[in-house]
């Protein structure tokens, strides 16, 4: 069994010198269970003599009595606790993490150092513009770089994440139509879309119409022509789609939409396939959002923070969210006087710390390197698809881009489900692919290897998958009982939902 990247042994609860009741649980105690009254991990410089305490100054009636249950630990305890927790995680830096649609590529470590430079990390967002020209120029350069990469005319880095970028884009679509005196109620979404697309539509006040992809896994312009009407505001298309297929009719789809005055919203979640391959702007997209934590290497952070810039064509530029960067003789500054803007989506400017990292990534790769990244990502996905073909055939006959969606017959042959395959992969020190998505493929395994994984790693993944296939037929119990080598065995997720326990509470 693969041992590289295995996570550490189950941590043993610490045994304090004074006896204390500890709930007999495995794993790492909760931080609250490690508390001892009076212990502390922080010191303030001493208060001046005779100074009144804060509570007396503002009046005790405005103050709480206590923070019951709040942690009371020393600094070394806090460090040990969280480092132990860290050891319970799979992570891209430790393991192969081919989670489809998430682009778990290597996050260059220097980028974290750069974001932490005092001149960037220590900069208050209300700093006068003339004292923050470096940051503003970085934002301007990033906007220009993303416009070039996507083939669009204008970029806003404002949205906090891809899904917020989607909402931003849809609100712009709405504002655009309103400005022209039109009210359109519907947005077309393919059946292969990410769940954020329809959820964003609802928030933007649109009704969703579902377009069916054809049996080959892509959208036909004829289907779009059939659905589009004067009541359709836009269509959201992920390209490559969630089957990893480049939408071959995307330009005709754009034309079909534009003919009826509807917009093409391109979901850029899969941009990692497109660098130097095809630009959304040339496909006919009116808007595209980018997920910097995917294609642009910023850390996924256990679920964010991301950043979700939106890039638009000229006609949508007036509607971009506030604030907009502008350049005058004196330098860069933010402009908030833009009457057609949809307004703000968040406080301050953008997730600047993520912008810095992504910009550093773009500098490191350059235009040529980005093009190579996409090509190698595509090579990796096709390589895995080909090698896994005998037992895990592709869900589509179309060529794959940066990810492939595979299926299998183990459910039928051995009553082994995709979920169980995923759990067994954990025992091989591999994070499973995205599973059961897209919804159009029963039992889907959606695999995105990215360009930063070597051939050896891909080969070891193939070996693991082959072995699992073999086990499913010959030793299915082994799979049903997986994982066996992790800090916990199969977690009872149904139980968690039936009896929600969402916080620790102090025992009375």
């Amino acid at each position: 069994m693969a041992s590289a990247g295995r996570i550490g042994p189950v941590a043993i609860p610490e045994t304090p010198s004074t006896p204390r009741r500890i709930e007999p649980v495995a794993g790492v105690p909760l931080i609250f269970e490690l508390s001892s009254e009076g212990r502390r991990a922080t010191d303030l410089s001493p208060r001046a003599a005779g100074e009144r305490r804060g509570a007396e100054i503002i009046g005790v009636e405005l103050c709480r009595e206590d923070l019951p249950g709040f942690p009371e630990l020393s600094e070394p305890q806090v460090i040990r606790h969280f480092l132990r927790l860290s050891q319970l995680n799979f992570a891209q830096a430790l393991q192969f993490y081919p989670l489809g649609s998430c682009t778990m590529k290597y996050n260059p470590v220097v980028n974290d150092e750069l974001a932490a430079l005092q001149g960037l990390a220590g900069l208050h967002p209300a700093t006068p513009a003339h004292l923050a020209q470096g940051a503003l120029e970085l934002i301007a350069r990033m906007e220009a770089a993303l416009a070039e990469i996507t083939g669009m005319d204008a970029v806003s880095l404002h949205p906090a994440a891809g899904a917020q970028g989607e909402l931003t884009g849809l609100l712009m679509v709405r504002a655009y139509h309103r400005k022209r005196g039109e009210v359109r109620h519907k947005v077309i979404i393919p059946d292969t879309s990410h769940g954020t697309n329809p959820a964003s539509c609802t928030l933007a006040g649109f009704e969703v119409i579902v377009a069916k992809s054809n049996r080959r896994g892509y959208l036909e312009a004829s289907e779009v022509r059939r659905l589009v009407s004067d009541d359709v505001a836009a269509m959201m298309v992920t390209n490559p789609n969630t089957l990893g297929i480049f939408e071959p009719e995307i330009q005709d789809i754009a034309a079909a939409l534009h003919d009826r005055g509807a917009m093409l919203y391109l979901d850029g979640a899969n941009m990692n396939a497109l660098f130097g391959v095809a630009k959304p702007g040339h496909m006919g997209a009116d808007i595209v959002q980018l997920n910097l934590h995917k294609s642009f290497s910023t850390p996924h952070g256990g679920g964010g923070p991301g950043a979700g810039p939106v890039a638009v064509k000229k006609h949508l530029e007036p509607f971009l969210p506030l604030p907009r960067l502008k350049h005058s003789g004196a330098g860069y500054e933010f402009d908030t006087e833009r009457p057609d803007s949809i307004g703000r989506m968040r406080s301050f400017h953008n997730n600047f710390g993520m912008i810095v990292r992504a910009y550093a990534y773009i500098l490191a790769l350059g235009g040529d390197g980005l093009g190579m990244a996409s090509r190698l990502a595509i090579l990796g996905a096709n390589y895995l698809r080909k090698r896994l073909q005998p037992h895990f055939p592709s869900a589509t006959g179309e060529p794959s881009m940066h990810e492939c969606v595979l299926s299998h017959d183990l459910e039928k042959r051995a009553h082994v489900s995709t979920l169980e395959i995923a759990k067994r992969l954990l025992d091989f020190g591999i994070h499973p692919p995205t599973i059961y998505f897209p919804l159009v493929v029963p039992g889907a395994l959606m695999i995105e290897p990215t360009e930063t994984e070597s051939k050896e790693i891909l080969d070891s993944f193939v070996d693991a998958m082959e072995r699992i296939y073999d086990e499913a037929l010959n030793d299915p119990e082994r799979i049903k009982n997986a994982p066996q080598t992790l800090p916990v065995s199969r977690v009872d997720e149904a139980g968690a939902a039936r009896h929600p326990l969402l916080r620790w509470e102090k025992k009375a």
């Binding site: 806090v78 130097g276 490191a364």
Partner: protein
């Protein structure tokens, strides 16, 4: 190409396996007219040393990031970030994992989120908190949307005018596409700076959906949140509190104690750098009865097959990847690593330390106000304040310029967002300020008063 491990031999072998000769054969199916124009015209890639040089040069041009005495606040606060916070969130085990879909391989992340949820419920005295939102402003907007799901027939959303302008703007954007909602601004009392209760009373009827109040508010004032919640409840509406300065919750009465239904805020003060305004982290806490309408991820405690305690994402039938267009929110990626930073920070501060820190902020801010007053510079509002207060100045912009010449960032002029406060300057004082700085501030702005 230092991030890509492929040797020429690897590429050749992989191409052979897939039955292609050249890398570009793999994209031959992409329409030729698109491929022909796809070249990215950016500079060539460069070495790590060159990347560092380039970005360091930009950083160095942000002269406002060092060398100034700073009193900037207005929604983002200067607090000391213990090294232990960076040591933890810098761990690649946390930073390079993703949303914990596979619970067995994510016990570190899920347990940390469970601890974050617990800390937020303790701070707010609420019953349930989610795994984080993007920031305080979007959390406030999501809170209003949540209120609307709870009471879909009530049309009036009341925003205190003393709620942060950017938060009000964000709420307006989020609500802009939804029919049947009406946003009303509740004025603040010109003398105290607190939300005008009699104005609120006038709209407290059965059309009222929710009341959103800053705590402390955008003018620095500690709102009478209990009275506001009471008035809101008399109308059968929901009270939403919004805290941009999280440290205040270490000392002030908790929103839950005061009857608030949904408590949201910005957690930047909990161990996150200023970073020119982001990423921060939004938090949201509510009553258990409202759980099903909460947006965002939730982690729950459960057991594994061997009856050991374990954690996992739960109640995801509220969420977009299951519920699609009927989800409670479109949020997917949130600000998990920032929530981890907050978890470490609050664990370090602890029960005693957080309160002491909050008290120290109060003490220093009041000391600053006293020094300024002694120099003849008065506060604009009489209400109680935490660590931020507005000064009454004839010409705040001139005061800012004069201060800047003395290497002081004196605060934020309120006139930009509040035309009626064109003579007010918002000053923020934290533990990062020292007592001897206040007379320098007073001297600098007294000149142009």
């Amino acid at each position: 190409m230092r991030f890509m491990p492929h040797t020429e031999n690897d590429v050749a072998a992989m191409l052979e396996t897939v039955g292609a000769k050249h890398l570009d054969d793999l994209i031959a199916h992409v329409p030729a007219n698109l491929r022909a124009r796809a070249t990215i015209n950016l500079d060539l890639g460069c070495s790590e040393a060159d990347v560092v040089r380039e970005i360091s040069a930009l950083a160095a041009r942000n002269t406002g990031a060092s060398g100034f005495l700073s009193f900037l606040g207005a929604g983002y606060y200067r607090h000391y970030v213990p090294a232990a916070v960076r040591a933890v969130i810098g761990r690649a085990e946390f930073a390079t994992s993703y949303t914990p879909y596979q619970a067995e391989a994510s016990q570190g992340t899920t347990q940390a989120i469970f601890e974050f949820q617990t800390l937020i419920t303790q701070l707010t005295a609420m019953e349930v908190a989610n795994a984080s939102m993007y920031d305080g402003a979007s959390a406030a907007a999501e809170a209003v949307l949540m209120a609307r799901r709870l009471m879909p027939t009530r049309p009036v959303v009341a925003l205190s005018r003393a709620l942060w302008p950017e938060y009000r703007a964000t709420i307006r954007t989020y609500l802009s596409a939804l029919d049947g909602l009406e946003i009303v601004e509740v004025p603040f009392d010109d003398a105290t700076g607190a939300t005008d209760l009699s104005a609120l009373d006038r709209i407290a009827n059965d059309r009222l959906l929710c009341v959103v109040t800053g705590y402390p508010n955008a003018l620095g004032i500690i709102e009478p949140l209990g009275a506001i919640a009471q008035m809101t409840h008399r109308a059968g509406a929901l009270a939403i509190s919004v805290t941009a300065e999280g440290i205040a919750l270490g000392l002030l009465r908790a929103p839950g104690e005061l009857g608030v239904d949904i408590a949201v805020g910005e957690g930047q003060s909990f161990g996150l750098p200023l970073q020119f305004g982001g990423p921060g982290v939004g938090f949201m806490a509510a009553r258990l009865t409202h759980l099903r309408q909460m947006p965002g991820r939730l982690v729950g405690q459960t057991r594994d097959r061997d009856s050991r305690r374990a954690f996992c994402l739960t109640l995801s039938t509220r969420e977009q990847h299951i519920r699609r267009e009927r989800a409670t929110s479109n949020i997917c990626t949130n600000h998990s690593l920032c929530a981890l930073a907050a978890t470490v920070y609050l664990s370090l501060m602890g029960r005693i330390g957080l309160r002491e820190l909050a008290e120290r902020n109060v003490e220093l801010a009041h000391q600053a106000a006293a020094v300024l007053e002694a120099a003849g510079i008065r506060r604009r509002f009489s209400g109680p304040f935490f660590n931020e207060f507005a000064l009454k100045l004839a010409n705040p912009l001139a005061a800012l310029e004069a201060a800047e010449r003395k290497q002081i960032l004196a605060g934020v002029a309120l006139g930009g967002d509040y035309p009626e406060l064109s003579h007010a300057l918002l000053v923020s004082v934290t533990e990062m300020n020292r007592g001897d700085e206040f007379s320098r501030l007073a001297a600098a702005i007294a000149e142009v008063r």
